[in-house]
């Protein structure tokens, strides 16, 4: 009897100590950063920028342990819907909320306008698997014909004309595209429509409408299919080419010479994009037909849709502003290179920072 009572006391004491220890506030390793905010926010949206946002969240939460940010990569459409339904503090979207749809988002912001802020850029690489062919060069016209299935064989003269000195096999081109709706498809088809309107007669959009080829679910499936199928071609975000065995990125000749897909060449194109939004709304119109030398033309930009003013206090506008300031900072944008994304640069970055600093904190 005595031993069980002693045991019970000891158990209760241990449990109590553990509970009380858990209740105590953690002091944290670093001293509180002046730019940190506390609390928690929920966000949802584009999966294209999912990895970038996750990296930022991890870095921010390490620095500011009083903050919790939860981003769900449910897709742009679902993300914007949740934002308009007041379930999230901001949304991530591949194509930006256009003027007409912005009014619904404005209602959500109690009058203060909803704005698009571009934060993450990306390059869409044309990935191919041709054993023995390195540095494949393609132009917009030939690319459009390949993806519209009008050019069906690798040894087509149109391809050989651009690639002197390389031998192409007499094989059918196994073309892969996205079977699910995606911002990558949206930007790629916009590029093809803008640069090769005669060869690409299909309306640009998030869904693939051209005939032929095979659909794969998600960029990861597209790259896996290209990597695993000889004589194949597909389009994926540049970051997916890390760690592939057979898949390589093609060079795109926009009229000023072949350009490799990389962070630097893509950011040239993004930085030169025209702003179609007014005020702090930075909706961009990318010039896919750019003939600038060293500019990779197939790019995409993802936006954060936030309330400039009017975000209710329970959605924690201070933390939204603090997090986005971190994302737009030099530290934040430099982190993008490591994960295969493209940072925003130049005067566009200045405008982004102005927009973020104008966000109301209450």
């Amino acid at each position: 009897m005595k031993s069980t009572r002693a045991l019970t006391c000891a158990a209760l004491a241990t449990v109590g100590a553990l509970v009380l220890a858990g209740c105590g506030s953690s002091s944290g390793g670093s001293s509180p950063n002046a730019n940190c905010a506390s609390g928690s926010i929920k966000a949802a949206g584009s999966s294209a920028q999912g990895n970038a946002i996750t990296d930022w969240i991890n870095a921010y939460q390490t620095q500011c342990d009083q903050a919790t940010i939860d981003y769900q990569a449910v897709g742009s459409g679902a993300g914007v819907e949740q934002f308009v339904a007041k379930q999230t503090s901001f949304a991530g979207t591949d194509s930006g909320v256009k003027e007409g749809d912005l009014t619904k988002a404005n209602d959500r912001c109690a009058g203060g306008p909803a704005i698009n802020i571009p934060m993450v850029g990306g390059a869409i690489a044309i990935t191919y698997n041709l054993p023995g062919v390195d540095g494949l060069i393609l132009t917009a016209d030939v690319l459009a014909k390949i993806f519209a299935s009008t050019i069906t064989k690798w040894n087509d003269p149109a391809i050989s004309a651009l690639n002197a000195g390389k031998t192409f096999p007499d094989a059918t081109i196994a073309q892969f595209h996205r079977s699910d709706s995606s911002g990558t498809t949206d930007n790629f088809t916009k590029y093809l429509s803008a640069t090769a309107p005669t060869a690409w007669t299909f309306a640009p959009g998030k869904d693939w409408t051209a005939p032929g080829g095979q659909g794969a679910k998600g960029s990861d499936q597209v790259i896996a299919s290209v990597d695993g199928t000889a004589h194949s071609i597909g389009y994926v975000e540049l970051s997916y080419l890390f760690g592939t065995t057979n898949a390589k990125a093609a060079l795109i000749d926009n009229g000023a010479g072949p350009v490799e897909a990389s962070s630097a060449t893509a950011s040239t194109t993004i930085a030169a994009a025209a702003i179609t939004g007014s005020g702090n709304d930075l909706l961009l119109k990318i010039d896919y037909t750019t003939k600038a030398s060293g500019a990779y033309p197939i790019v995409l930009v993802t936006y954060e849709v936030v309330c400039e003013k009017g975000l209710s206090a329970d959605q924690n506008p201070a933390l939204v502003k603090s997090f986005l300031t971190f994302a737009a900072s030099d530290t934040g944008q430099n982190m993008l290179n490591a994960s295969g994304y493209v940072p925003i640069t130049g005067s566009l970055l200045t405008k982004v920072r102005t927009a973020v600093s104008s966000l109301a904190t209450s």
Binding site: G77, S182, G183, Q214, G215, A216
Partner: protein
């Protein structure tokens, strides 16, 4: 005498004898709980149907093409153009392929376990087949995509080469991956454990007297099965097949990973292409706009109605055969 007439009248109106018997609190509670459970299920079904209809209306009104015959799926465009032709054909074709393969094999496994195998071995085999049902759908999809695909591709190539004169096996694109045939085969494997488990239970329910009687009359094992087992278990076999069909119609992730999702009705089952209702919803939901989401729910409503119709037909077939079996 009047008491006995009263009693007979009472028992005629109330054969289970519930009304007159002493009702304890326990009986009342159980009655309430079971009635409540039944009503809850009906309420959930009604809620789902109401939700589907309510959410589908905006897109159906906005659609500028015929919902039933249009092949393209572009609901978020202006003007909205979308239709379920490709989805319906894809869903039905993959389900039919799955059924054609899974039903005979499932019944075969069940018969083997019930009547041919030794009891212990039969139990072990049954256990393993049931384990197949525990494998998550996405694992089937990934396995199908990476491991099963080469084998099916060779088989499909053989089919299109030697049986290409039959229109459905013709292959003009010289590509054999990500086809309806592939999806149908993976669905067959997924649906097999359901069919085999249920029909096995049904076969084991056949009264031993029927079996002994036919064996005593000198029937061989197969004749015994034909004479005694099948007539008795027909309703059960049909419900097993219908449950399998229900799963094949609604399977989402495995089909979404495998199919090439092309919006063109293509009856060449060895060519890449095709899409199904559930896979389409999985692929398009995240990026869909308002009309897009409503259109996807409309397609979900059609799938709901198809499954309902299939189940009602099954119930009707079983009801017709009721008097021939012990299931009444």
């Amino acid at each position: 005498m009047s008491t006995s007439t009263d009693e007979t009248a009472q028992s005629a109106a109330d054969p289970a004898g519930i009304a007159g018997a002493a009702i304890r609190a326990g009986d009342r509670t159980f009655l309430g709980l079971s009635r409540g459970a039944g009503i809850l299920v009906l309420a959930v079904m009604a809620a789902i149907a109401a939700f589907l209809i309510w959410q589908a209306i905006p897109s159906l009104q906005a659609n500028s093409a015929n919902f039933l015959t249009e092949q393209a799926w572009l609901p978020d465009q202006t003007p909205s153009v979308f239709g379920i032709a490709v989805l319906a054909v894809g869903t039905l074709v993959t389900a039919v392929i799955a059924m054609l393969i899974a039903v005979p094999i499932g019944f075969g496994i069940a018969l083997f376990i019930a009547y041919y195998a030794r009891p212990k071995f039969g139990k072990a085999l049954g256990f393993i087949v049931d384990l197949l049902a525990a494998v998550p759908s996405i694992i089937f999809g990934l396995w199908g995509l990476y491991n099963f695909m080469p084998a099916v591709t060779s088989f499909a190539q053989w089919l299109s080469e030697y049986l290409g004169w039959i229109p459905i096996f013709a292959n003009d694109k010289q590509l054999w991956t990500k086809s309806l045939l592939m999806a149908g085969l993976v669905l067959a494997i997924m649906v097999l454990p359901t069919i085999s488990a249920i029909s096995r239970e049904v076969f084991l329910q056949v009264p031993r007297t029927h079996i002994e009687a036919s064996l005593a009359l000198g029937a061989t094992r197969w004749e015994m099965i034909k004479m005694a087992v099948f007539p008795f278990s027909r309703p059960g076999m049909i419900s097993a097949a219908m449950l399998g069909l229900g799963r094949a119609l609604g399977e989402t992730i495995a089909v979404a990973l495998i199919l090439s999702a092309v919006f063109e009705v293509n009856l060449h089952i060895t060519e890449p292409g095709g899409n199904s209702f559930a896979a389409n919803i999985a692929l398009k939901w995240g990026e869909a706009g308002e009309v897009g989401r409503s259109a996807l729910i409309a397609s979900g409503l059609v799938l709901f109605l198809i499954t309902l119709a299939v189940n009602m037909i099954a119930r009707w077939i079983i009801a017709r055969r009721k008097e021939f079996s012990g299931a009444s």
